[in-house]
Structure formats: structure tokens, C-alpha cells
Symmetry: C2
Subunit: 529 residues, 2 copies
Amino acid sequence: MDYALWIQAQAQAQAQAQAQTALQAGWSRQRLLHEALRDAIRNGQLPPGSRLLASRALAAELGWARNTVIYAYEQLASEGWVSAGRRGTVVLARPQAAVTRVTAAVMSKSDSPATLSPPTSAPLCLSQRTASLACLPLAADLAAGFAPGVPALDAFPLALWRRLMARAWRASSGPQLNYGPPAGERALRQAIAAHLRASRALRCSAEQVFITDGTQTSLDLCARAFADAGDKVWIESPGYGGALTAFRGAQLRPVGIRVDAQGMSPRPQDWRVHRPKLIYVTPSHQYPSGAVMGLERRLALIAQARQCGALIIEDDYDSEFRYEGPPLAALQGLGPDLSSETIHNADLQWQDGQAISDSPVVYLGTFSKTLFPGLRIAFMVVPAPLVKPLHQLLARSVPRGRAAEQLALAEFLSEGHFGLHLRRMRRLYRERRDVLMAALQSELGDIAEVQGASAGMHLALRFRPEWGLDDQAISARALREGIVAPALSQHLIGRRGGDVSGLMLGYAQVPTAQIKPLVRRLAALVRGA
Amino acid sequence: MDYALWIQAQAQAQAQAQAQTALQAGWSRQRLLHEALRDAIRNGQLPPGSRLLASRALAAELGWARNTVIYAYEQLASEGWVSAGRRGTVVLARPQAAVTRVTAAVMSKSDSPATLSPPTSAPLCLSQRTASLACLPLAADLAAGFAPGVPALDAFPLALWRRLMARAWRASSGPQLNYGPPAGERALRQAIAAHLRASRALRCSAEQVFITDGTQTSLDLCARAFADAGDKVWIESPGYGGALTAFRGAQLRPVGIRVDAQGMSPRPQDWRVHRPKLIYVTPSHQYPSGAVMGLERRLALIAQARQCGALIIEDDYDSEFRYEGPPLAALQGLGPDLSSETIHNADLQWQDGQAISDSPVVYLGTFSKTLFPGLRIAFMVVPAPLVKPLHQLLARSVPRGRAAEQLALAEFLSEGHFGLHLRRMRRLYRERRDVLMAALQSELGDIAEVQGASAGMHLALRFRPEWGLDDQAISARALREGIVAPALSQHLIGRRGGDVSGLMLGYAQVPTAQIKPLVRRLAALVRGA
């Protein structure tokens, strides 16, 4: 506990030295503590493995409220500096970047200014913001075991796709080889808007649809275009690592918000203490728990976000696959109507009678789950007032192209192939889901419980708490035996979400006949733990 | 001059209030002044159009060195807050984001915490970092007039490309539809490494090659992976707006470095005052001036970058087209050899006798200029010590795919089509360049001088200073008449680069027969100014 004492002294000294500064700058004590500790970790004064003083003890020592300390620790955890677990709050190892030594200068120094300060011997390494990403789980082999997020690739109508691609390339000449329109090809945007209005209850026009190269690109763009460094962004905990990556890359401050059976469930004080600029949610099928957000909570989230000026990012990644109960309308479609005047000011082409939602929501969708991941085409639907500024931004900063792929996809949608393929996959995935649930019940029913299986391409297998199983150890062991099954607790953001333990099982790409044998092998592993 | 007086008071008051803070935090006076002015602009206290006090006057008033004030003003200019011109330093207009009012809450507030602070009425708008991008020139219609950076699309062997694409799609099955390897397809990386070693004197292995979706993506990635918010990045002035966009998006601090006849020419004090983390250069054919960096300066740049721990980003966007003189080796290939031990530690496959350069250089290339922009395939060659960390980062954060396109491109390269196409285009572009130069000489020889025409796809038409022509007015007038010809002074970064005046004329995509008539129309416009 040497380091704990050291920290305490350090935090106190820094707090005193910075008190004047902090008051002037309007810093909270929480921020003060957070920055002091982060600096100490960054400098190496708090090396990896050292344990922070328990929040209660540090709060008593400083004479501050315990929540202040807890929030600062949570912030550090959500940024990847520390991990919080049963051992307490422990400083994480930073990835050891490969190092190249700056050796004696070998080149002509004729231009070298005499006053240059001495060489820093700075090694070539990643930036701090990206180095901290290395503590995220590595995308494992995405074709083995229960890898989530991968569709049944062998069931994709590849021959049809080849024909559409060939047709699109035949139709292309010089102009289609050039840079394309900043928001993507018009035909594709129209087809997507029509699909979303009909099947996801979005209320939008084609102008609100922006084509991107994948959801990760959409998230990167949202993080930079709609928030500045230091702004807070809420992420469900457990939640999606790719979103965390995008937000950290843009130097936002991620705050993990606990997930319950209805998805993200912020506490009243979260709105006060962690006022968000962006709120990232997966309401149709929470990633990874599979929870579905009910209508009342959807409405409350929109109202509260609106009240505090936050923008909701609704990631509807696998909502097309729903097996039980009626589909819930997307958050995007739940707002009141925009006035025709606002629509006119936003320069949208507007047909009489076409409603456009006033929700503060950016809706994200992708063809990685419905068609295939290698396609690299996804989309965002942005609020009407953001269409013009975002379009102008993209025209300056994001060159687009790939006309042939976009036109082939537009045809795939508008000729009805998409609807047909979705219906087929829904049938196939439901069959695989049912086989998986039956196998899990018979092999592991006493130890674990299935959750979040009403929709999507994966379910959550929650270990019953009385068994005290370590899901990360089980997941690692399974991976060594070639079974991909990510641990739920690996998806915790910061300290929130508490005692989640279980596995995330993707079933869409597992051949039906292999599901039972795989579950048997997995069950043996779990029982061996 | 009301505002100037106000600023002075403001800067002084802030400087005094923050003096203690600044000393503690190790801030320089330059940074203090910069932040105070930026805050005032951001708050609207200094509205658009207001003129800052002349640097000499403000320095005298504050009792500070004049350079301190000049550097602070330059910093503001390079960030897009002010523009520096003959009228002095003037606050720029921020783009007026469309505004949606937060009206009375219409939704259930059952969950709404009683203690929520009052609504901010925050309008939906772009982040500050991207809003400032709107002052960049808009990518105009890229198929008209002398639009730079667009190849001769009608000369691309489209029928051959269709065949290669069809073949690649026929060879694809389920696995190729999945997420791809983080650095791109191996066959393509090998073909690119072989091409670069043979034609650009790079010394690299295929493992150092990373495929991206375009140079803008490469730049975004470099900015985030190799620098943190607040780090300084050097850009040539005049220079490439796309790079400025990427660096601002990552909240780096761009510093414009003056360009002379040999490209980027930093002054000795720049290394001291504006110590860079990244240095962005276009040494083969400076964008937009066309200058070629000589060998001695290349060596000095590498030595100095190494000495201060900076990473050079070498954008070799159109170096394949060289019409006069021997090609200069890329910066990447100019370093000493890496030891085999370092190569081994970096986990590179290394064949005996294959040299790998130790330059602190990330080399960027693209197929947008050599094939066509809509392809969206570019690449980066990174230093050996960065291969492993970057690979791990990408495996976690940048999903890849598009196997068919990559494999078709690999075949295009390895079967010799690429070399043949380059030779054809070199011949065609040289012919167009010669016609353009002759026409410019006969129509505008007395007013302007051609520079930077020895390589690439554009040249710089510099107006002779004695005519005092306003290149931006001429460029805007030309655009209205359908002739794209960007003004050189539009590319100035901050205050540096001084009295550049002229036009950037891309000739690669202009049909040879149209060049002379276009020059005549342009000459009439210039003479009318």
C-alpha cells in the first residue's frame, strides 16, 4: 500500500497548489483529483499495478465527499488508465511501444540551428490517446465459434451481387470514376430513406441520409463533428468497444452509464454530475446485453437529452432481426414533427404530408450485418438542422467515391432483393437462435440464464451470481480452444455496470448443425472453471 | 479601432489575472495571449470583422517582445480564427450553423431529475473544431476548367478494370465477404512495396505498408495515432487544405512554414519556438507551388526532425509524373539502414540484403491520381518500429474489407498494367503541360510566370508582383464563368508565405484541344482585373 499513501500525498499537494487555479477556472474538485492522478500515471509516478487508495479512505483524508472521489476514479477507469475490480482500483499497464533510439545524428547539420535544444531521444510511438486503446479487447478471429456481429456469409446471394456489381461497372464511365457527392449517391440515399421510413418508423427525408464507409467511420465523424475535446459522452456499461475507441480517439471524456433489463438507465445525478454532450445508445438490442429499451424510457431519454442540449447517437446495428413481439419505433422517429418552416430553413426537399422528426437523434445503420461486413457501406440519418452544416463540412474534408458499389446497393434495395434477403435471414437466424437456446438450457441451465435473445444476431448468457464465475478467464480459455465468446464484463466502461458476468454468443454465422456440439464444448469449459 | 482598444484591455486584464496560473502551468506569454484572444472570439466578445491591434502597438502596450504577439496572431490565423492580410489581422466570420430552438418539453418527464439545471437552449450545431473548417475553400466542381488533382478519367483503361473486378468478384466467396486484415490484403501490400522500392527508392518491406480509404483517411489516422491534441504540426504555407482539415479535426495546432523555390524552408527559430510533433511536407511536387525539394534540404530536414523527435509525413501524391530531370529519392528512403536487430524486434519479415530505412518518415501515396479518385484506395508506409503498435491499434479500431477491389488492384499492379498506364499518362500529361505552358507564355507572359511545372498534374502561375493582382478575386471571377483555377494565396496557412499571388492550374484532365481556348478566356479575365 506504499503507492496509495504516495497518491494521497500527491493528490493533496496538487490539490492545494492548484486550488487557486481551479477556483479561477471553475474546476470541480472531481476534475482536480482526476487530472492530478492522471498526470501521476502518465509521468510514471504511479507505475502500472499500483493500487489506488480506497475511495472512502481518500475522501476522509481529503475531507471531501466520497462521491467526488468515486466519480474521479470512474473517469480514470473509463479512459483506460485504471481498472476497477475486486482487487480495488489498479493502475493499468500502458502498451510498450516499440522503441527506436535516436542515435548520433548522421546527416549534414549545415542548416541545424545552433540554439536547438538538446535531442529529446523521443522514441517513435503512438499518441497517448490511441496508446490507451490497446487495453480494449482485440477483435479476435471473426469466423470462429460464436463470434458476434458476423452474418451468415454463405447465405448471402453472391451470384446476384456479382451481377449487380457487373451491371453497375458497365454503366460507369469517366464521371463516375471521379470524386462523388459528399453525402453519397442520391439513388442510394433515397432507397435507404424509404426502407427506414417503412421498416424502422423513421421520419426523415433522403437529404438527411449520409453514406459512410462503416459504423466506425460514422462514429468517428459524430465524435469530431458534434463534440469537442473534453466534452462528455455517455456510453452504456457494459457497452460497445468500437464506440469507446471513436470517442477516445477524438479526446472526448467517456462516462459509462449502467445498463439494466431495459438498457441504459442513467441515475438522476448523472444528468447533473456528468452532463453529456453526446449519448451513445443501442436501444433496439443493447450491445452486448441484448436488452430492449421500452417506449417510456425512450421518450424520457429524448426529453432529457433535449432539455440538457445533448445529441443522442442511436446505433441500430442489428435491429432488422426481430423474433418476438412488435418492433419498437426507433428513437429517431419519436420526436414531435418539425415545422415546415424549419424544414424550409434547413433546405430539405419536402413533400407535403411527409413528416420529419424533431428528435435530437443521429441514427446510425449499417449494411455490415444485413449484407456483409466487407462491403464497408453504412449510413447516418442526421437531424434536419444539421444537414446543411454537415454537408458543407464533408464537402471540404471527406472525399467520397465508390459510385459503382453504391449504385449496385441502391438497386439491391429498390428491386426488393434486400427485403427478401432480410426475411430469409430472419428465418435462418431464428432457427439458429432456437437451437442455441435449447442447447444452452439443457447443458448449462443450472449455471446460466439466457438474456437479450428477442432480437439481433447474438444473445447474452449470464452466469448466475451464486456460482461466482470469472467470465474473462472462461472466455480466454475458450478462445485458446478456438471458440470465440467475448466476456460480458470485458465490455464494462469504467466502474459502472457492477457485477456483470457471462458470455456474448453470436449465432448468426454458426452452421445450425454445429451449434449443439459447440455448446457442449463450451459447457465443459464452464463446468471446469 | 474601438475593438482594438478593447482587445488590448482584455488581453491585459486576462494576462494579469492569469499570470499566476500561467507561471505555475509553465505557459508562455505567447500561449497566454493566444488563448485570451481565442476565448474572446469564441465568446463573441470580438465579433467577426473586428480588427486586432497591430502587433507592434500591442507589444509596446503590453511591454512584451513583438515576436510574442506575432506568433500568437499567427497561431490564431493558422487555426482559422483570424485572417492576416493588407487590412491587418481581422476576425473571421464563424459559419452560422442552422439553429433548432429547444422548445417546451413535450415528453413525459417522469424520470426527469428535479435538480436538473435549467435548459441550455443549446442549438444543434457543429463542434468548434469542425465549424472552423468552413473557412476552407470548398472543393469546387472537380470536372471543370483547370481543376487540380483529377487525372484524365477518359484515358483510364476502364474495360480492363471491369474485367479485373469481375474476376476478383468471381474468386470471392464467404470468407472474402467478412472483415479483412487490419493493414489490408497482403497481395496488394506486396505489390505496392515492390513498386515503391523500384520507382520511388523507398526502402521498406510489405509489412510497413498499410492500406487506407484515401489520403484524407491516412492523414486523419496519422493525426490521431501519432499526435495528441495541442501538439504542433508544421504545414507548408501555401499548403494543402486537406492536411489542415485533418490536423484541426484532431485538435492539433497547425503552424504554417514558409515555402520557397525549394519547398518548405523553416527558419532556425521555428525549430525552437514551434517545436513540431509532426511535419507535413510534399517534397516531390509541393502543393500548390510545385516546388521540388533538393537533396541537401531533404537530408537536413530528416536530421533536424530526428533531432527534435518529430515525425515527417511525406505526401507523395503525384510524384509518378515527372517530366524533367532525374527523380529525387523519397525522404523515406534517405535514412541510414536499420539494424537487423531492430527489424527483428519490430517483427518484420526480412530478406537478407533487403535494406530498410531508419528515416522518421511516414510515406503517403494514393491511387486517386494514378488510377481514379472514386477508387478510394491509398496507402501509408510507416517506420519499422511503428508497424506493430499501429497494426494492433487498427485491429481494434478500424474495420476493413473490400477484398475484391484490393485484389483487382493488386493484379493491376503485378501484371504490369500499372506501369504501362503510368507511362501512357506521363506522355499525355507532358503533352498537355507543354501546350498549357506555351499558351500561358503567349497570352500572359508579361503578367505572370510559370513555376513548378517539372512534375505532377498541375503548375503554378505566379503573377508578377509589380501588377499587384488579387488572385482570389480573379479565381472567384473565373469560377463564376465555369473555370476552376484555385488562387495560390487561398492556400496560405496563417500569416506565413507572405505575398504569394497566382493561380493553380491542373492540366491532367483538360482535353488537349481545349487548353488554348481556356487559357484565352482566363487571360481575358486576368487582364480585366
